[in-house]
Subunit: 240 residues, 2 copies
C-alpha cells in the first residue's frame, strides 16, 4: 500500500536549505530568538504588514522613504534605527495598522532563502498550536527552516521545529524521514517540560542574557500567546 | 578566575566545518556507518596504513599503480573495485601489513576538509573509550567533525560525537559552548542504552538495511572493540 502521508522535515540552518528545498510546498521559517517571535507579536498587535529585507542597506533605503524600519544585528538594534527585533517593540499603539520594514541577523536571511517556495509562513512558540493546526489541514509536504545563529545550528529553533513535527506526526497524516527531523523531535521531547531550563546552556541564550534580554527570552519561549499566522505574499508578510 | 577548560565541540557536517575550524587543534573525524569504523577495524587487524582519497578518479590512479584500493558510494562497492567500506572487508589475512587506498561517500570527504588541522584522528564507536581517554590527556581544543550523509546531518555520527563530548566534559577539564555540541550530548544521553533501537528510524540505517548490511551496522554500533587510534600524518592514516 502506498504511504499517503505527507512529509514534515526540519532543516537546521539557512545554509543547508539547498539540500532540502524543491521537495516541500510549505516552508515554515523559524527564528525563536527573536525575529519570528517578534513578527507574530507584531501581527497580534495590529501591525498591517512587514517587509523583511536581508541587508542593512535595503533597510536604510526604506528608512529614507519614510517607512518605520527595524534593524538588528548580533542581538542589538543597529545604530540609526529606532527598533530591532524585540517583540515588545511592536506592541506600541503607534504601530497599529502600519507597515514595517525589518532586517535581522538570522530570521530575515531565512525568509530570503525560502522566498521562492510555494507557501512561506512564519513560526515561533508564540503561534505554535495555531500554526500546527493550520499546517495539519493543508495536505502538503512541509519543511521547518530554522534560522540558526550566524549559519550555525541553534537549539531553540530546532526545538520549536520539533514541536511542530511532533504535532503533525501525532495526527497520523505526516511522517519524518530525515535524521535532522528525528533529532529535532527527540530534542523537543526532552525539552518540552521546561524550555527555559533546557536552554539555559544554549549559546544563543547566553549571548542574549549578556544583553539583558531575559524578559524577551521568557516571552519568546512561552507557547500559544496568539493565533496569528504570518504568511509571505509578494515579498511582504501579512496576517493569513 | 579564568576558565582553564579546553573546548570540546561538535560540527554536524563537513559543509559547516568552515564555521568551526581555526579554533581547534585536534579534529576527530567520525563516520560511524561505515568509513571510520572500517578504518579502526583495519588497523586493529594489522593494516599498516590507509590513504584516504576524496574522488573515484584518484582511487583509480592508485589502482593502476597496483595498490589495494577500496571505493564506496551510496553504501555500495563502486564497480571496478574489490571492496568498499565494510569493516569486515579489512579483516582478511592478506591485508595485514599492507597499505590500502580508500574513497567513500562521506568519511573521506571529512578527512579531506579537516586535513590542515594540527592533528586529525579517526573516531567511531569501535575505539570510543580508548580515543576519549587519549583526547582527555591532550589539553587541546577538540572538534568532532561528523561526516553526515551527503552533506546532511546524521544521527549516528552525532551520537558518537556526543559520547566523546560527554566523556571529556565528565573529566572536568572540557566545556562545550556551541548549541550543536549541547544537542549532540543530549542525543547521546537519550540513545546510550540502546543505540540500535534509537537509530531504527534513522534514514541512513534504513538506507543500509535495504542493502542488507545489518551485520555491519550491529558491528559499527558496538563500542570499544579496539584500542587503536588512527591518525592522519602527511595524507596517510597510520596507527598512533
Amino acid at each position: 500500500m502506498l504511504d499517503q502521508r505527507k512529509r514534515i522535515e526540519v532543516c537546521f540552518t539557512p545554509g543547508e536549505y539547498a539540500y532540502y528545498k524543491d521537495e516541500f510546498e510549505i516552508v515554515v521559517v523559524i527564528d525563536v530568538l527573536r525575529a519570528t517571535s517578534a513578527m507574530c507579536a507584531a501581527f497580534d498587535n495590529g501591525i498591517l504588514s512587514i517587509i523583511p529585507v536581508p541587508t542593512i542597506e535595503e533597510a536604510l533605503e526604506y528608512k529614507k522613504k519614510g517607512y518605520l524600519v527595524g534593524a538588528e544585528r548580533k542581538g542589538q538594534i543597529v545604530e540609526g534605527f529606532d527598533f530591532g527585533n524585540s517583540p515588545f517593540s511592536y506592541m506600541k499603539e503607534e504601530f497599529r495598522g502600519k507597515e514595517v520594514v525589518l532586517t535581522t541577523t538570522n530570521g530575515t536571511k531565512s525568509l530570503e532563502v525560502a522566498k521562492d517556495a510555494e507557501t512561506v509562513v512564519v513560526g515561533s512558540f508564540l503561534n505554535l498550536t495555531a500554526l500546527s493546526k493550520w499546517l495539519s489541514k493543508q495536505d502538503k509536504n512541509i519543511l521547518c527552516l530554522c534560522s540558526g545563529w550566524q549559519d550555525k545550528f541553534n537549539l531553540e529553533d530546532t526545538i520549536c521545529a520539533g514541536a511542530i513535527s511532533d504535532f503533525l506526526i501525532s495526527t497520523g497524516n505526516f511522517i519524518s524521514i530525515e535524521d535532522s527531523s528525528i533529532a529535532a523531535k527527540y530534542l523537543f521531547l526532552s525539552a518540552k517540560d521546561n524550555y527555559l531550563g533546557y536552554l539555559k546552556s544554549s549559546s544563543h541564550r547566553r549571548r542574549l542574557k549578556h544583553l539583558n534580554l531575559n524578559e524577551d527570552i521568557k516571552y519568546c519561549l512561552t507557547p500559544d500567546q496568539t493565533d496569528v499566522i504570518p504568511i509571505l505574499i509578494n515579498g511582504k508578510l501579512i496576517k493569513l
